[in-house]
């Protein structure tokens, strides 16, 4: 023992002190501070989203319309990238060198550690080749996705299309992540929640190089992706394609409804496009091409165009007057032809005439007198007008029908307020708004509303809200499509006008173009004045007269008289739907309709 042996205590003191300091630090690090546990989970946990396939869409006969095809995205994790042959990669995935380099730069700016998509929608054929060479490109990965594929070139507007989510979608619904696909229009949009299925989540543990090592918690926290639900549409694909064929080189719209169910059989907005144009890599350029087209092929006329109903509206006016008993079946109004006042008549016919003949002849003066009889029945024009308006609204006109395709236009049936503003209170009367009597003036109806109006007439007074989906896999369509809605017109008041409509088809000068052998069709032509050029031709019809199977409306823009194009086209469609083929005697009409080019006449 020497005199410094006591210093051993100092030395031991230092040892124990540092040991204690470390233990305290470790206590803080391992027990008190929770952030390291979180960091550790962040380090190893990689959540890989499993994208479900979207639901398929069938037509009403079970024909596949929309399916899925595999596609692959190419991803990059910049940190792991080693030198590679840029040109070779460009050639494999089919993109320009500059584009690829720009994308890689973008990915680097986003994150060096997280993967970013640099090439989207690589076809399975390209993918097969790429896969063989991928080992040469360190840091590049592929991710399988599904894309829409169309088994038909028809029905683009009804089916709608799928696109990448927008910032708005992301903010609205946290189901979506960047780069996810979402229905943008048509059925794809309105049935998005059924079609999209449910994304799954696989949790993996990765090592420092982001390589997957193992499943996290033995996969117990994984969520399996649920495939989207298949849908059966009400669309009759054959009829749809036929309607589109008839509409070659024409502008306009067709809507056909099964009156008994409210199921939409066909919806054509012409010009139309092939739905396949809005899928895949060419989508961007195709989309801008369609967008810049002056004929507006992307604009869905069936739902968004507010046409005047023209003479087709006369049927409704006649029924309202009968219901209001402001006219009876015995009422006769005289017509002075072109000298009539305040509305001229363009047709040559007997005078005076009753309601049935008036419908056949589409007599303007009769309809004006009928309309006036409704309005003048009440003390003030406004009162009478509002009664009239209530009847019109009960036909689903002037407001959205609340169909299952979103983005409907309201149409327009002005309120009395509108006329008060325009002419001053009590400063207007039936004569002021006389255009309404012949379906002109402020009235705007979409083809869908007009077709539904046709279905109501066919049903003699009620309708189901028109819809395009009839079956949802493991689900039910909305209750609103199974609820009958009644109008304010009693069934017996439909019969006289239907009588008139049958005569239109069978007993007018244009009957040869629209009379279908063995089918009793009831219809009404219309010629809609329009400020943009030649009149639109419109035809509303249903058939057969008893137990109707189809109600249809055809608009052909800038084509003149309703009987010239709209009526023959409608008759062909009715014949096609009911008989599945066109009678030999009418083939010439079919040919003529297909061949006529109304787009390039100017």
């Amino acid at each position: 023992m020497d005199k410094f042996s006591k210093r051993s205590k100092t030395v031991i003191g230092i040892f124990v002190f540092i040991g204690l300091v470390y233990v305290i630090c470790l206590f803080n690090l391992q027990i008190l501070d929770p952030k390291y546990k979180q960091f550790a989970t962040n380090n190893v946990l990689r959540e890989v989203i499993q994208y479900p396939a979207r639901g398929l869409i069938y037509d009403r006969k079970g024909k596949l319309m929309v399916i899925n095809k595999s596609s692959y995205d190419l991803l990059i994790t910049p940190r792991e990238v080693k030198n590679f042959d840029t040109l070779h990669l460009c050639q494999l995935v089919g993109v320009e060198k500059e584009e690829l380099e720009a994308k890689i730069e973008e990915a680097k700016n986003y994150s060096w550690y997280k993967p970013s998509v640099i090439v989207k929608q690589i076809s399975p054929e390209n993918y097969a080749i790429l896969q063989e060479h991928l080992f040469k490109f360190k840091g590049f990965y592929t991710l399988p996705r599904t894309l829409r594929e169309y088994e038909t070139s028809s029905a683009a507007h009804v089916l709608g299309y799928v696109g990448e989510v927008t910032q708005n979608d992301l903010a609205r619904d946290d189901y979506y992540g960047m780069g996810d696909y979402i229905g943008v229009s048509g059925i794809e949009k309105s049935y998005e929640e059924h079609l999209r299925g449910e994304k799954g989540l696989k949790k993996f543990m990765v090592d420092v190089h982001n390589r997957i090592q193992d499943s996290y918690m033995d996969g117990t926290e994984d969520v399996t992706a649920k495939i989207g639900k298949n849908l059966v549409s009400t669309i009759d694909l054959e009829l749809q394609a036929y309607a589109e064929k008839l509409f070659s080189n024409k502008k306009g719209a067709v809507v056909a409804i099964e009156p008994l169910t409210g199921e939409i059989l066909t919806m054509v907005s012409a010009p139309y496009y092939n739905p396949g144009m809005l899928v895949g890599r060419a989508r961007g350029s195709n989309y801008s091409k369609l967008l810049s087209d002056t004929l507006k092929p992307l604009f869905d006329r069936t739902l968004l165009a507010g046409y005047s109903p023209g003479s087709t509206f006369k049927i409704l006016n006649a029924m309202i007057a009968l219901q209001e008993q402001s006219i009876t079946l015995d009422t006769r109004f005289s017509c002075s032809g072109p000298e009539s006042s305040p509305i001229r008549c363009t047709h040559n016919h007997v005078s005076p005439l009753g309601v049935i003949e008036a419908i056949r002849e589409s007599c303007n003066p009769f309809m004006w007198n009928t309309f006036r009889s409704i309005i003048t029945k009440y003390p003030t024009a406004a009162e009478g007008y509002n009664i009239w308006r209530e009847y019109v609204l009960s036909f689903g006109i002037g407001r959205k029908l609340d169909s299952d395709i979103t983005n409907e236009y309201d149409g327009n049936i002005p309120t009395d307020e509108h006329y008060n503003r325009l002419y001053g209170e009590r400063r207007w009367n039936a004569q002021t708004v006389r255009s309404l009597s012949i379906g002109q003036g402020e009235i705007e109806m979409t083809p869908l509303q007009l077709a539904n109006y046709g279905a109501i007439v066919a049903n003699r007074g009620w309708y189901f809200i028109p819809h395009v989906i009839k079956e949802i896999e493991n689900g039910e369509i909305d209750q609103r499509f199974k609820t009958k809605i009644y109008t304010k017109i009693s069934p017996e008041n439909f019969e006289p006008v239907i009588e008139g409509m049958q005569m239109v088809v069978e007993n007018t000068s244009a009957a040869s173009l629209m009379n279908i052998p063995e089918i009793e069709m009831c219809g009404k032509t219309g010629t809609v004045q329009n400020p943009h050029g030649e009149d639109h031709s419109v035809f509303m019809a249903f058939a057969p007269k008893n137990n109707p199977q189809i109600a249809i409306v055809v608009y052909v823009e800038n084509s003149g008289f309703g009987a010239t194009y709209a009526a023959p086209i409608a008759s062909l469609l009715v014949e096609k739907y009911i008989k599945r083929e066109i009678a030999e005697s009418r083939k010439w009409i079919e040919e003529r309709m297909i061949e006529v080019d109304l787009l390039h006449i100017y």
Binding site: V11, Y22, V23, L26, Q30, I31, Y36
Partner: protein, 486 residues
């Protein structure tokens, strides 16, 4: 010098061995091996005898270490005493040789590559220095407070340190600081330790504080200490007056001449003049303690001013970065701070009981670099949690404390000094290594004794420890082998 009557006692050799220390050693080695196994574990290579894997190799090193330990126990202690000088020279020779023909691993030119086997001479030089110090300081008539003693001790320690620094192996060189504790035990003035601590504190403060704040703080502390040890109001008042006038004069000078002094310049210059005046004042009053205080004050001011200069001009960029990271001056968790950050995450995620053997995700999936060597403690922290860390730290502290206590019991000065050397070397490795993994020390690559993967380090620590165990066994065996006391 040789004891010729050792034969009967020879039989007692195994009984005289400190089996508790041996047990702690074996425990540490096997705990280390399990953690190496866990840190490099993967399903494809799960056989523990797979020699292509680190745990397989380590098992081989461990076997060899046990044989080495056994041989050391069999060797007469006199051998080391006798051959100390040659061992020392041989190691120095190797250190020079490695500079010439060594291979560079991780930026340090400190390895001999013999086939696939790497040997690091600096691992063995600690042993040589320990032996040499023990031998020199235990020579008859050794007095520590002689110029010659200081000189020789400095030579013994600094020659290997310089050679190791030339290999750019700062971590290993840092360990030689630990010998100061041995010298302290043998009579080196505590003032050295005090100043050593002061210098380190000042260095850190100078880096993390602005010079102005630091200098004001230093002056305030100096004045407080002055007042405590010399509570005479009149003298204190004079001191304040010196500093006040210095400041005032220099301020006016600055205004007159328009020298554009910065506040720090003003303050430093007035501190210096005030300090010097105070020294002269107290020297004339013959109040020695007060003079000393102001000398230290002036030294501290100079030192803090020079730190930035030294830091920026003498330290290598990666050392600067690591120190900046440690002190929180610059934080770069994906760059310089990556290791430490990941290491803290691994340890911190262990929680109280840890994630269990082979279940550590951070270490298994390679988030922590150097996880089987310098950062092996991360595996302990992650898989065995706070409890495991506590057990490990307790075992290690128990080992070094036991060595100190045992060294104090030695009758031979050589054994005692050698024992201290062993304890402080082990302790310094422990302190720097663990401190580094939990972010208390800068990242310098030195292994955790008995734990880290690597043959050189395991063998050198085994030799280091077992020579002491053998010397300790001799304590009971031989009454007096060398001179005792000084």
């Amino acid at each position: 010098m040789f004891n010729l009557t050792e034969k009967p006692r020879r039989n007692n050799l195994w009984a005289n061995i400190d089996w508790i220390t041996v047990l702690i050693y074996v425990l540490l080695v096997f705990m280390g091996w399990f953690n190496i196994y866990a840190s490099v574990y993967n399903i494809e290579h799960s056989s523990i005898f797979d020699l292509s894997q680190r745990y397989g190799k380590q098992l081989m090193w461990i076997g060899a270490a046990f044989i080495i330990a056994f041989i050391i126990i069999l060797i007469e202690t006199n051998f080391y005493v006798f051959f100390t000088f040659f061992i020392y020279l041989f190691v120095v020779f190797l250190l020079v040789l490695v500079l010439l023909i060594g291979s560079e691993i991780n930026g340090s030119k400190s390895w001999f590559s013999i086939g696939s086997l790497g040997i690091q001479p600096s691992e063995f030089s600690k042993l040589a220095v320990s032996l040499a110090l023990a031998k020199y300081m235990s020579t008859f008539g050794f007095k520590i407070h002689r110029i010659k003693s200081y000189f020789v001790m400095a030579i013994i320690i600094l020659v290997p340190v310089l050679l190791i620094l030339m290999q750019k192996d700062t971590g290993s060189a840092l360990v030689y600081l630990s010998f100061v504790i041995v010298l302290f035990r043998e009579g080196l003035s505590g003032v050295v330790l005090f100043f050593g601590t002061l210098v380190v504190l000042l260095f850190i403060c100078a880096l993390i504080m602005s010079n102005l704040v630091l200098n004001i703080a230093l002056l305030a502390i100096t004045l407080i200490i002055l007042f405590i040890i010399n509570p005479k109001l009149k003298q204190f008042g004079f001191t304040l007056l010196f500093f006040g006038t210095s400041f005032g004069l220099i301020f006016f000078f600055d205004l007159l001449v328009n020298t554009n002094f910065q506040p720090i310049d003003l303050f430093v210059i007035s501190s210096l003049t005030g300090g010097v005046t105070s020294i002269i004042y107290f020297a004339r009053k013959k109040i020695k303690d007060s003079v000393t205080i102001f000398v230290i004050f002036l030294g501290a001011v100079f030192f803090s001013l020079s730190v930035d200069f030294v830091f920026n001009n003498f330290l290598m960029p990666h050392h600067q970065a690591r120190i900046n990271e440690l002190l929180g001056i610059n934080s770069d968790p994906l760059g310089v701070g990556y290791n430490v950050n990941q290491s803290k995450i691994a340890i911190g995620s262990g929680g109280f009981l840890g994630k269990g053997f082979l279940n550590g995700t951070q270490t298994k999936f390679n988030f922590v670099p150097e996880q089987s060597t310098d950062f092996i403690f991360c595996t302990v922290g992650e898989e065995w949690g706070f409890v495991g860390s506590l057990v490990f730290i307790s075992l290690f502290i128990a080992l070094v404390v036991r060595i100190i206590l045992s060294a104090e019991k030695q009758r031979s000065v050589f054994s005692r000094i050698y024992g201290y050397c062993v304890a402080v070397i082990l302790f310094f490795h422990f302190m720097i290594n663990i401190g580094m993994t939990i972010g208390l020390m800068p990242v310098v690559g030195i292994p955790l004794p008995f734990f880290s993967y690597g043959g050189s380090s395991l063998w050198s620590f085994t030799i280091l420890l077992f020579i002491f165990i053998r010397l300790d066994a001799d304590r009971l065996e031989q009454p007096i082998m060398l001179n005792s006391g000084n």
